[in-house]
Amino acid sequence: MTATATLSRRRLQLSDLTRLSTVGLRTRKLRTGLSALGIAIGVGAIVAVLGLSASSQSGLLAEINQLGTNLLTVSNGQSFGGGTAELPTSAPGMIGRISGVQQAQSTGAVAGANAFRTPYIPSVDTNGLTVQAASLDLLPVLAATVAQGHYLNAGTAQEPVVVLGAAAAELLGIDRIYPGERIWVGGQWFYVAGILKPAVLASAIDSSVLIGYPAAQKYLGFDGHPSIVYLRAKNDRVNVVDNLLAATANPENPSGVSVSQPSSALVAQADAKSALNGLFLGLGAVALLVGAVGVANIMIISVLERRSEIGLRRALGATKGHIRTQFLAEAVLLGLLGGTVGVALGAAATAVYAHTKHWATVIPTEAWAGGIAASLIIGAIAGLIPALRAARLSPTQALWSV
């Protein structure tokens, strides 16, 4: 050994760096918690918004899948003259014979008929309800069910009997079926046989008052033309059937027929981001920014307070790099702490809400991983200037101007 032996430069071991960078956090727990809170709130809000959105979407998609995506509807469109192009009365039967169609049912709007709770209600107060003739096996095709009472059967379809859609029942003020319950439809009393649950795939049914085809023709002068045909196709034939429907339903005027797949519209709706999502994500981003400012602020104060510690470390042989690394690591840890707590909060909020809605809890990877990554980066950026200041502090000033 000689006096001129080369001096080697030493890097801190990771375990030492970890210990060093947690010193400030461990010794000032309240401050650490409060400054991590801003980032936690921001990350939490973002994770919760993305998680809730994904969970509700997956809930809706699960519901749609359960209802089936093979429901197609055929409705009367516009004629060239601008009026309604009536579907032929034979349309449901014709459609039912297309290969691949499992079942075809129909409803027909009864023109000029309105439904009221009593005859004394002014005729203009229609509540937007429509009176529809409905075929007997409509419910299984719609995957709709009866909430109370019974649906129409071959007997009641002949008589002045109605079944109410969910919204229609509510608007008429009927929440329970009593024997003899009746409503005023098209100038005469109709007895209420049942109330339906909301029909997700055919929301038009919800605000409808349904009566049998024969009864509609007998009591309300209905012309018997269906306005919407609902059909179920085999899953692998949906597209083929779709292409044949217009011509089959109305061979004379295929262009006067519109065909749609309600489930695809719902899927598109589920995919569409809620406008509120943007608002909440924006708020989350603002909270993150505020959190970052908080971390930067706390780190700068920390550097000022710990001048003598910094000076001492320099005296013990720390390089500027050691000091910089220590404070930068501390800020990153502070960010990480906030991010982790935020992800936990956001996930918990999502889980609780999804549970009450009976959805599966879905936290998208980009939400939690992005939240953690964002908090790390924010910590690093917020800690950069304080760390540089700590490293620049001259050891003599740090130690002798206390």
């Binding site: 006096a3 080697s8 030493r10 510690e309 720390a318 002798w400």
Partner: protein, 283 residues
């Protein structure tokens, strides 16, 4: 431990246990050569003017001067925490001016120990870890740092309080912890800045006794103080006024009984308080 009688003067050159060998012909541990330190201003403030000071292995030097005399600046320069405006400063023969910042930091980590008036202990950390941190930047693994910290704490008589926090200790005990931290790396030179400044008279005396004892065991120590009484009891006294060294008693003769310990066989540890024949300083 036993002491053999002083053999040849050559033996005094062996820097026992300090990891730095100084050649017997006398490369000083510290060589301040024509050093000036001025601070910018109108006109520039000259804190030190052409100061020359050589401190050899095993010396105990008291640097005394009033406030503003430049003694603290001298300590900062000797400790490589500051760099001279002009002149040369060598630590164990290494010219600090030619070294990169990182290398100077490593020099501090391995060859210079500091003792401060305000102790500067980490209150959240145990005594043992406070001392072990003296080796943190020397690239030594934690386990070894703690082992050596234990040895250093035994040396200052605090082996019983390893797991106490500094806040649970008296002022004198805290300064002992700080001294242990300065010694744990077995530095070539220990710089003490008013080590008794924050202590009462009796405690201060016991700290000075400890410093004496460490010196007898071979450590090279420079004590900066404003108190002539303290400097007087050091084997060598350097007086500084207005940035000049106005008096220097020079290296103590080897006949000084307190230097005899240096002549002992090379050992890895300075004498412990209990086993040493050095005189116990009355406090």
């Amino acid at each position: 431990m036993t002491h053999t009688p002083p053999p040849t003067p050559d033996n005094t050159a062996v820097a026992a246990g300090h990891g730095v060998a100084i050649d017997g012909a006398g490369v000083p541990v510290l060589d301040v050569d024509d050093v000036t330190r001025s601070y910018p201003g109108e006109p520039p403030i000259q804190a030190l003017r052409e100061v020359n000071l050589r401190i050899g292995q095993g010396e105990l030097v008291g640097v005394v001067g009033p406030s503003g005399s430049g003694k603290t600046t001298l300590l900062q320069l000797m400790g490589t925490l500051d760099r001279p405006t002009s002149g040369r400063l060598r630590i164990t023969g290494l010219d600090v001016a030619t070294m990169a910042d990182e290398d100077v930091a490593y020099l501090r980590a391995t060859r210079i120990g500091f003792i401060f008036q305000q102790f500067f202990l980490a209150e959240h950390a145990k005594v043992l870890d406070n001392v072990a941190d003296g080796l943190l930047y020397a690239g030594i693994p934690l386990k070894q740092r703690r082992e050596r910290a234990l040895d250093a704490l035994e040396l200052v008589g605090l082996a019983e309080r390893l797991h106490a926090r500094p806040t649970q200790l008296s002022g004198g005990q805290r300064q002992r912890v700080a001294i242990a931290r300065a010694l744990v790396g077995e530095p070539a030179i220990v710089l003490a800045d008013e080590p008794t400044g924050n202590l009462d008279q009796a405690t201060g005396q016991s700290i000075l006794a400890l410093i004496d004892q460490l010196h007898q065991a071979g450590s090279t120590i420079v004590v900066i103080t404003h108190d002539h009484a303290i400097a007087e009891r050091m084997p060598r006294k350097v007086e500084i006024i207005d940035g000049h060294i106005v008096a220097d008693t020079g290296p103590a003769a080897d006949t000084d009984p307190r230097r005899r310990a240096l002549a002992g066989p090379p050992t890895h540890e300075p004498q412990t308080a209990s086993g040493s024949p050095v005189r116990e300083e009355p406090s």
